[in-house]
């Protein structure tokens, strides 16, 4: 089962390396990882998407807590949360199909952020499913390159981690 876990860490050098090394060493797979600052400059948030059953998740959580710089770990599974991912997709768009591509982007509320004679770059935000769907549709025009940020998430309501 897929889990989104949020890890609050002290904003110190090598923290990310420690987290990544822990996953590698214990044989856990990371599907995606996103890291960035929080409202407190001393604290960063790492959002991880991982696969595993309850037992594995429990171990992951406990092992994360063993890292001295990890302050808090939360699993969003079975809670109410919002999650988003951002992707940039550069797609072939010669004149003949350009408006078609633009229309597809429009349907997904994706924005065109760069235009060139033969290509368009679209920016899309949403759940991974939505991004997958857009990617699927754009494939037939030829995706030149794309990048995704990995998911980030927050609990719904006034609760915080």
């Amino acid at each position: 089962m897929q889990h989104i876990i949020s890890v609050l860490v002290e904003n110190k050098p090598r923290v990310l390396a420690r987290v990544a090394s822990l996953f590698a060493r214990r044989g856990y797979n990371i599907e995606s990882l996103a890291v960035g600052p929080t409202q407190d400059p001393q604290i960063s948030r790492i959002t991880l998407v991982v696969h595993g059953n309850e037992d594995i998740l429990e171990q992951i959580t406990k092992q994360l807590y063993k890292l001295i710089e990890v302050i808090k770990v939360g699993d969003f599974t079975n809670t109410s949360y919002v999650d988003r991912e951002l992707a940039l997709i550069k797609v072939n768009a010669p004149a003949a199909v350009r408006s078609e591509v633009a229309q597809i982007a429009e349907i997904f509320r994706a924005r065109i952020v760069d235009v060139e004679e033969k290509s368009l770059t679209v920016e899309v935000t949403g759940t991974p499913d939505k991004i997958d769907a857009l990617e699927q549709l754009l494939r037939k025009y030829g995706i030149i390159e794309m990048t995704r940020t990995g998911r980030i998430a927050l609990a719904r309501g006034s609760k915080s981690l």
Binding site: E10, A17, R18, V70, I71, K72
Partner: protein, 554 residues
């Protein structure tokens, strides 16, 4: 104050009396301060791995934090095996390494090694100090982290310019580590459940490990076992937690455990694990381990709970506090039937201590035990068959009298660890049981032992083999003894060349005199080269991956 002075000042305030180390360009500023600090005794080893093992042996035998030091690059990387050894056995060490100057970091500079990167998976935590202003805080945090909760090694990597820069020295009265709060007190509800389970059980068994020693819980363990009449099996790391001469002690369990200890595990209806981690050398095939038992698991590290074996009543906390609470909540009871059942296990099998005209490791270890009775003695071992024989035959009555590399199984640990033990316990007798393979892994530390006049008693079970590997080849690889035969020099001569006493024992008849002589020498190390039978096996033997029921007995 200069960074190097701040470091030494902090070490003094942490109560550090000894540093095991080896100098080099990147720590020369620190050594310059050591030169004028008589309160701190520096022990010069002959290889940095020896410094780490010595700090480890010092820590295991005294309960204090062991400190070692090495220069950048090769000095630091030489510490690695020692740190991994300490990490696996949860031993508190602070390792100080020099690093190239901050402007040179990341440039593949001379003697640069990313030691914080390298040691990330084998330390509890590590620090690279980038500003001299942070140094005092980091040193205090390092000692606190190393010694609290589940202890472990911590590395402080200090660039040369940080050692040289000056700042105003302020002692950090308070340290704050927001993400680090070890749990010491067990959950009352869980403890109550555990007490009820103990009262209900008909065939309860205590399974105790190194955590009991770390936490200093032996008195509480004894009280609980006696009050509720529960037999005790210990891991190798748990030797000395519970007196082995006690009628409730069943000895060691696991791969080379006693027949009755393993039988008791397989037949108990309640297993109370205290400070033990269900290691594969203990459990054998893990899903067949203690099949009839409800499991109570007491450990200070929450991540140990449910890692290898699911427990019914987990209790996170310090063994001493948890057992103390548990004792209060149980009533006196006895288990005559269960005790009788265990007696039948004991009667069903006696170890294959066959009479032989040859000198056997059993003769040596048993006679050492008979001569000392473990009194005022700390036994150190290396790794291999001799280690298992020592664990089986040398009885420990008190905590911190058994020093051996368990989790990592590091050959070469013994000699440098013995040095640390003797330095930390100048009035105790330190005996090392080693093998002809192991001793050569760190033989250069004989120089250290001689230089400091340490009266170590080193008994080498010389079987001309990497015996433990040979045993596996014998039992599991059709006796194809690939690369395990050793051709050794005369060890007594080697010892004498180092300036130690060297003795040779080839027959049972020569043994007693040699042991007496070794025990009598007080001003230098003695090495007794015991030519034991070459192809003895350690029994019982649970082949790797097999259930404890599948012990090979002869």
């Amino acid at each position: 104050m200069k960074g190097a002075q701040i470091l030494i000042e902090l070490l003094k305030r942490e109560g550090v009396e000894v540093i095991f180390g080896y100098p080099g360009g990147a720590v020369i500023d620190i050594y310059d301060v050591i030169y004028e600090t008589p309160e701190i005794h520096h022990i010069l080893v002959r290889h940095e791995q020896g410094a780490a093992h010595a700090a480890d042996g010092y820590a295991r035998s005294t309960g204090k934090v062991g400190v070692c030091m090495a220069t950048s690059g090769p000095g630091a990387t030489n510490l690695v095996t020692g740190l991994a050894t300490a990490y696996m056995d949860s031993i508190p060490i602070v390792a100080i390494t020099g690093q190239v100057g901050t402007p040179l970091i990341g440039k593949d500079s001379f003697q640069e090694a990313d030691i914080t990167g390298i040691t990330m998976p084998i330390t509890k935590h590590n620090f690279l100090v980038t500003r001299v202003e942070d140094l005092a805080f980091i040193v205090r945090e390092a000692f606190y982290i190393a010694s609290s909760g589940r202890p472990g090694p911590v590395v402080i990597d200090i660039p040369k310019d940080v050692q040289q820069k000056t700042t105003e020295f302020v002692y950090p009265e308070k340290i704050k580590i927001p993400g680090y709060k070890p749990t010491y007190r067990g959950h009352v509800k869980q403890i109550t459940l555990a007490a009820a389970a103990i009262m209900e059980a008909e065939r309860p068994l205590l399974y105790v490990g190194g955590g009991v020693i770390t936490s200093g819980a032996s008195a509480q363990l004894l009280e609980l076992a006696e009050k509720t009449d529960i037999p005790v099996v210990h891991t190798m790391m748990g030797k000395g937690t519970f007196p082995e001469s006690h009628p409730l002690s069943l000895g060691m369990l696991g791969m080379h455990g006693t027949y009755w200890a393993n039988k008791a595990v397989m037949n108990c209806d309640l297993l109370i694990a205290v400070g033990a981690r269900f290691d594969d050398r203990v459990t054998g095939k893990v899903d067949t381990f203690a099949p009839k038992a409800k499991i109570i698991h007491i450990d200070i590290d929450p991540a140990e709970i449910g890692k290898n074996v699911k427990s019914d009543i987990p209790i996170v906390g310090d063994a001493r506090l948890v057992l103390g609470e548990l004792v209060k909540r149980v009533e006196r009871k006895t288990h005559p039937q269960w005790r009788e059942e265990i007696e039948t296990f004991k009667r069903a099998y006696s170890p294959p201590y066959k009479e032989s005209p040859k000198l056997l490791p059993h003769h040596v270890i048993t006679l050492i035990y008979e001569k000392t009775h473990g009194e005022n003695t700390i036994l150190v071992t290396d790794v291999g068959q001799h280690q298992m024989w020592a664990a089986q035959m040398y009885r420990c009555e008190k905590p911190r009298t058994w020093v051996s590399s368990g989790g990592l199984g590091t050959m070469g640990y013994g000699l440098p660890a013995s040095i640390g033990v003797q330095i930390g316990n100048p009035d105790k007798r330190v005996i090392l049981i080693s093998g002809d393979g192991s001793i050569f892994m760190k033989i250069q530390e004989m120089v250290t032992a001689v230089n400091y006049g340490l009266p170590l008693k080193i008994f080498v079970m010389n079987n001309s083999y990497l015996g433990m590997v040979r045993q596996w080849q014998g039992c599991l690889y059709k006796k194809r003894y690939s690369c395990t035969r050793l051709h050794n020099p005369d060890l007594a001569v080697v010892a004498r060349a180092f300036g130690a006493e060297g003795l040779t024992v080839k027959t049972q008849a020569e043994l007693e005199q040699a042991i007496d002589k070794a025990l009598a020498i007080q001003d230098r190390p003695v090495l007794v080269d015991c030519h034991v039978a070459e192809e003895e096996n350690v029994l019982p033997f649970v082949p790797p991956g097999k259930s404890l029921e599948e012990m090979i007995l002869e």
